[in-house]
């Protein structure tokens, strides 16, 4: 049952990133999700902190939650 990574989450975006649009089953979900990356009313949170900042204290956002960030999950974290 455990979901490895939400459908349509861009390949290198952190799997801990969540936003409402991921849950909306609209026909335009792909574009809506992509829009969320630039939307001015989209909120993003981290599954680890359940807050708008990640474990490193910096903001959760599609541009920032990418490989190279200190808290980006390592492959061996996947259970």
């Amino acid at each position: 049952m455990a979901m490895q990574k939400p459908e349509l989450l861009p390949e290198d975006v952190c799997p801990c990133l969540r936003t409402k649009t991921m849950l909306l089953n609209t026909e335009y979900r792909r574009s809506a999700f992509e829009d969320a990356f630039t939307a001015d009313t989209a909120f993003f949170h981290c599954l680890k902190t359940m807050a708008y900042h990640g474990p490193d204290g910096d903001d959760v956002c599609p541009d920032g939650c990418r490989p190279g960030r200190a808290c980006y999950p390592q492959p061996d974290e996947v259970t």
Binding site: N25, D40, F43, M50, H53, G64
Partner: protein
Amino acid sequence: MPKEIQIKVGFGDQFRDLTVRIQDDDVKPWQPGDRLSLIGQSTPRVDAVAKVTGTANYSYDQKPKGMIYGKILRSPHGNADIVSIDIDKAKKMPGVRAILTTPEIFEDESARYAGAEVAAVAADTEMQAEAALRAIEVEYDIKPHCVTVEDARKEGAPQVGRGEQVNVARISPRQRRGRRGSNSDMDERLARQEAAVGKVIQDSDVVVEGEFSTQVQTHAPLETHGSVCSWEDGRLICWASSQATFGFRNELTSNWGGVRAKSCQILSEYVGGGFGSKFSAGREGVLGALLAKEAGVPVHLLLDRSGEQLSAGNRPDSVQQMKMGVNKDGVIQGTRIRSWGTPGTGTGGAGAHNDGIYNIGEVDKIEYGVRTNTGGAEAHRAPGWPQGAFALEQMMDMAADEIGMDRVEFRKKNDEHPIRKVEYDIAKDRIKWNRSLTRNGGAETCQGLGIASNLWFSAGGGGASALVRITKDGQVEVRNGAQDIGTGTRTVMGMVVAEELGLEMNQVATRIGNTDDPQGPASGGSTTIGTVTPAARLAAYHAKKELMEIVADRKGWDASELDLKDQEVWRIGEGSTGMTFESACALMDDDAIEVLKGRPRRNYEGFSDTNAGVQAAHVEVNQATGAVKVLKVVAVADAGKILNPLTSESQVRGGVIQGVSFALFERRIMDRQKGRMLNDDFENYKILGSMDCPEIDVVLLDVYNGKSNTQVMGLGEPPIVATAAAVANAVSDALGVRMYDLPITPKKVLEAIAKRDAAKEVPAQKKGERL
């Protein structure tokens, strides 16, 4: 393979024929003139009695055997880091079963606002849990704070974030981070845009401008956030107050979350409101699940009202500067927009949709998010729209007045939506737009009218399934795992299935809010009914086909000539065969027919991709006290095909009520010195009450849009978009002076009156302002 069908799309007297390609197993959308017995009829909610008599079991009401209570310790400081947490004394307190700390669970040692979670306790009773919270010793590194946009924007303001985070960030167009995109390219593009639009505005016949502000509004659902969690043989069962049962489950089962349940069931049979704040399990959801795991018994962890007001979400505030150039023929040439808003300790999400309804010419728009030491915002019923509409609609009136054009005609001039063009006239007629009122005179009370518009854009979509089961003894059930946060999902799903099967409402049982049932959508973007009902209708249609094939086989009839109507088997074009539905079901060899069908992923080509809406408000203002009374709101709404006028009206009324409350009453009040919210309760956080509620005149337009087999568009959010804007315009109309800030409190009204009266002594200075 898709199949082509001919349908009629449109509304009122505006219908046209359309050839559309639909999924090959889908059923044709209902057409004008179809004989429908339930669809389009006002039908009371099937759970209405349970709700009003208190027998409906919400998550808050659950009491599984052995249940204990969870409570959360919150930081009292405006901004702090947690240095240490000593739980030794608390662990020894009577009744205490489990204690968790947030640095341990959430990898977070910051407490960036007064109300941030620090620890959680589960104990046998609520009082024992609260006593244990008081025994937890926390050492904080207290930092300076700022809790308002005004303070956070000041040079040298205390830093809200950590590391290199600044307080103010451009969120639209988004400031690029890391390797993605170049900010200098964007800065240059924005500079060119500003110059170009600035020239367009300058060259216009008339220029109007203003700065508008709106307040933070908390979601304030009657049922607070949280859940009752129980682990049974390794499986986590959560009775959750959620507007996204499957999303909630995903967060608790994800490999990267704090709970990582291997198996999980979410139950949300009844939900006491969400308004956009209940998509995530939240920290309270994670803590509840982990406390239950550690304690080994079920834990009830739903927030108290203070926790709800502090930490469970809010609508960001806004400061919106707008400048608009208009020609004397009424056509808007260009608009410059700058806005700032705080979503709490982050910067994203605080935008305002002030450019989406009308054609406002060339647009130069930049939005900024402002970090403050306050509880985090969440999506709030039409995120960004009510605050944006407030500013935009004031500007529309100011511009219309400046060029001497009727305010409605000015809107029509800059609006191409085919449905809204009709709705304007309905709203004008119902509010008596041209009536004579006592405005801006010497009388103690004066009255005014205001108008504003909605826009929405969702017809639902794929990813949802429904299971329809017809038993040999004639029982019918439809299941979908989505929740009902007030949309009337349970009722409308039952109506759709009953209609398709030719049954009465009471012959169909509906089960929702259970993730063991077929996948359902989150209730967001006003998509729930538009997503689940096409799946329910499709499943019912195919279940009916299976039943008709059984009947045809047994009776030697042609199945393609059979249908179900009025609880009997009919021959199409001839009438009833005399066989009842129960008799048909009795012909089954098996115990039941079960059909699971997914909603077609794509919506079809239809009449319009957006729905509209217009609202008009009539207010009375007491010029001695500053009190505003909203006498009436006319809400003209469309949402595709109206399946159930009663529940649809209910959605519109709810939106208007919350909108009037936003216009006049609700606001988070922060203590700038202490950094704390002062009204984290329902005594001091004023919400519209029954005596404040206006007459609400709902007009629903039935639009055959062809987008799906039920043709439903979103209705949960659009009705709140226009209300505060219409009320504010009405107050300005009554007083003869513009209202720039929400909520419109008596103090602000009296200040505006004083400003108006003082201005009578000197010529008007500010262009665009009616004085």
